[in-house]
Every structure is written in C-alpha cells, then in structure tokens.
Amino acid sequence: MRVQFVLQEIWIGLRRNLTMTIALIVTVAIAMALFGTGVLLKMQVDKSNNYWSDKVEVSIYLCNKLSANPNCKKSEPSADQKAEIRKQLESMPQVAKVVPETAQEAYQRAKEQFKDSPGIAGSIQPGDIPDSFRVKLKDPKNFAAVVAQMSNRGGVDQVVNERAILDKFFKILSGLQWAALTIAAIQLIAAVLLVANTIRLSAFNRRRETGIMRLVGASNIYIQLPFVLEGAIAGLVGGVFAAVLLSFSKVFLLGRLQKNLQLATPLGWLDVTTVIVASMCFGILLCALASFLTLRRYLKI
C-alpha cells in the first residue's frame, strides 16, 4: 500500500469536485453542530434535572400583614396555628421533611441570593417574605396532594411548588433540544445524499483510472479506499467546523443559560469535548459508510 499514491488520488478527487465537496462539508458541519447542540441540551437538562430533583421543595407561605389573600385577613396566624399546620404537614405520607423558616431568615437568605444585584437586594425589606414551611417531598412528583390540602387552609397565604416552575424551564430546554435534533436529522439525510452524489460524480470522473486499475489487478481496497477516504475527509473537515460551532453554542447558548438563569448547572468543557469528539466520529463514519455503499453501486469491481 503506497500512502502517497492514495493521498494523491484523494486530493485529485476532492479538487475536481470542489463545489460538491464544499456543499458536503457545509452540510455535514451544520448537521453535526445541530446534533451536538441537541445532545448538549439533553445533557444539560438531565444534569439540571438530577441536580434539582432532590432540592425542589414545596414552600408554604403563611399569612402576614401584607398578604393579599383574603383568607388571611391581614393578620399572622398564632403560634398554635403554626404548630398545627406543621403537624398536619408532618403527618402527610408524601412528606419527607418540614423545615420552618422565619421571616428574618428568609430576609437574610434573599439578601445573600441577590447580593450581585444591589438594586433588588436593597429593595427587600424584612417581612416582605413571610414565615414559611419548606416542605421536602419523598418523591417530588407527588406534590398535588400537599398543594391541594394546604392551599385553602386558614393561616396559609400561598403554596408555591418549585417543581412547576422548574418543569416550565425544562420544557423550554427540551423543546430546543428536539428542534435541534430534528433539524440535525434532516441535515443528516441531506448529508448522506450529498455524499452519495459526490462519490458518484467522483467515480464517474475517475472511471478511466479505476478501469485501468481493475485491469492491471489493483486490489479492491486500493480502488475503493481513495473514494471512501474522500468521503471521510469531507466528514472530518465538516466535523472540525462543527466543533467550532459547538464551542460557540457552549459559550453563547449554554453559557448564557447558566449566567441568566440560576437554575442551570454548568456543563463543563469536558462534556462539550466529549460531544464534539463523538459527533465528529459519527460524521466521519457516516460519510465513509455512505461512500462505500455508493461505490458498490457505481464502481464495478
């Protein structure tokens, strides 16, 4: 096997089909980038989901003087009432843990949470956030019963289910993920068809050479390898562009998500690199396979 000869043949093939090759590279790059973005989003969703699923709580805010809820009658529940609410919560089978939080503690926590946004932190007053019970559920999915029993109880202002907020967020993310994967799938089909067409043209352009190769007894590998590698190289170059695009989507899409929404757990460069390498390998294999199958039809051995 003479490497130089094979490389030379590949170069001739790629150059003769320059426009097709460029189209192929662009298509592969977009397909791989979208595919990778879809996978990254999926990883982000899974990771955030895992991270948050044992942290989400149902918060039961008690009435205070500022409550808008008419049931509260603008007054705080008595200590007995509070103890009763707590007892009721603890007796529910879905509940794992009940942690009371006083208005003062809530104020401190909010100040801490928004310390990077002085405007918000400054406008918070003690007592804005009433006393509450933070309820940890055994299974975060079984929130309905707790919410239902607590909602219209005397002394309770609001029941906030954090899970519902998270779900909304995850729905947006997984919507993005499926959109990216769907477009990636369509692009992949286009890429496969383009590979087939490029290799067919290439085989036609070089039919004289391959005819002679066959005649003088070149082995099938020798005849086919330049074509298969031609497809694989187009896949590789497309993959490199896809890697660049994926790095962009890590920095701009996921980076922004993480910055703007405190909900997101960061996805490291290790994850991104894994996705890039995987989608590159996938792209190269796909192109090489498509070339090989096309050759079986258009190149007589």
């Binding site: 004289r208 002679i212 066959r214 005649l215 003088v216 082995s219």
Partner: protein, 232 residues
C-alpha cells in the same frame, strides 16, 4: 496456459449464446490470432479469460487456475498475470508516458525503487526511447499503442491479451506494433490477439483460431485470415 473446456456463454438478456461449446487450449509461449466477424464472440472469449464474465457452462483454466474456483478477492491477482491492450489505447490523458506505465505498478503497490528501474526498460522495449516525458496527445496513434503495450507488459505478465490493437492504426504503423508484440512473445509471454486485420494475420503466419456465431470453426497453426472475410 489458457484452457477452454466446452465453454458456453449466454448473456442474461440475450437468447443466442455468445460462445457455444468452445474447446481451445493455448500453451505457454504461443502466439494466437483470434479472428472472426464482429459479434462472433472474440471479445467474450477475452473477457472470460480475465474473469470479467463467468461462463454459463464449461470450465476455464488460466495460468494453472480453475477460474470457477477462484474467489472474487483473488481475481486481482489473476489479472496481475495478464496484460491487456485495446483498440482505443485507454491511456490517462493527464499523465505522461512514464507516469502512464508507472501507474500500472503504483496501483498494485510496487515499491518506487522497483518502478524507477523497470519502467524505463519497458519504454525502451516498446521503442519509445526518449519519449518518456511526452503527453499522450503529443504522440501518434502507433506511439500511444506502444505506451499501452508497455503498461500491459511492465509487470511481466504470463499472458498478453490484445483486442484489435491495430484497429485504429494505419497499416505501416501496425507492422511496428506487431513487431513489439512479437518481441514480447519471444520473451516467453503467451499472446492472444483478436483482430480483423487480414494483412497482419497473413503476414505473421501464427496459429489462427476462427470464431463464427460463438463456435470455433477453424483452429490452424501457421494459418491465414481466411477468404470469407476479405482476406487473401
């Protein structure tokens, strides 16, 4: 070297067989003219030797190998022992004489040092001394055919198949081509040449196998082209 044992070939979309019950034995070092009108089966005969086609019936042995038992991935090795020359030369227009001949060795993975040694020898053998760096379109038809012969012979095949090698060449130049083929034959290479060229067959007086409608109608050592096709 080449044995056809009761070979019949029917192409799938045709009812009339291209070859019918052909028995021919060509021994090592022979020179055989294959004659007959167009469509008589000459090309099929050559394609069967290369295992480009399989016989519908009968057995073929080439260079000691039973072709029906030769697996597909071994066919390239068979073809390395057979050189081929065609009426239309089949040179690569973007390669010069040297590169065209070297191509045949490059694609079977011969080392460069070997190629550099044998290609000039073969170019001299076919009478193209000093023309190694000419492009095919700078050569006459006769010279192009010499390049094609050099390419077919550069790997020292045991058999050389020539399908109307003088079909596109004027009679005077054809004699030169025949001399090259004769020189190759004298090195011990078996030559089978399909031709319509009566003058050449008559002048060279080699073995003649005549095909008609896929059957061997004459097999004659030191034969002539035959009267039915405008020969002497």
């Amino acid at each position: 070297m080449i044995h056809f044992d009761n070979v019949t070939k029917v192409y799938s979309h045709q009812s009339r067989p291209a070859l019918q019950g052909v028995n021919v034995a060509v021994e090592k070092g022979e020179f055989v003219f294959l004659v007959g009108p167009s469509g008589s089966g000459k090309s099929t005969f050559l394609r069967l030797i290369l295992k480009e086609e399989r016989p519908t019936q009968g057995g073929i042995h080439v260079a000691g190998k039973d072709l029906s038992r030769l697996s597909n991935w071994k066919v390239p090795h068979l073809r390395r022992r057979i050189g081929c020359v065609f009426q239309d030369f089949r040179l690569l227009p973007n390669k010069n004489v040297y590169e065209n001949v070297a191509f045949a060795l490059e694609v079977i993975g011969k080392p460069r040092r070997f190629i550099r040694k044998v290609v000039p020898e073969v170019i001299d053998l076919v009478g193209l001394e000093g023309k190694a760096h000419r492009m095919p379109d700078e050569l006459s038809g006769g010279e192009q055919q010499r390049v094609a012969i050099a390419r077919a012979f550069v790997n020292r095949p045991m058999i050389l198949l020539a399908d109307e090698p003088t079909g596109n060449i004027d009679p005077a130049t054809s004699i030169g081509i025949m001399k090259v083929l004769d020189r190759i034959n004298r090195t011990g290479t078996t030559v089978v040449m399909a031709t319509h060229d009566a003058a050449i067959v008559d002048a060279f007086r080699k073995r003649v196998v005549e095909l008609e409608d896929g059957r061997v109608v004459r097999d004659q050592s030191r034969g002539v082209y035959g009267q039915a096709y405008g020969g002497v």
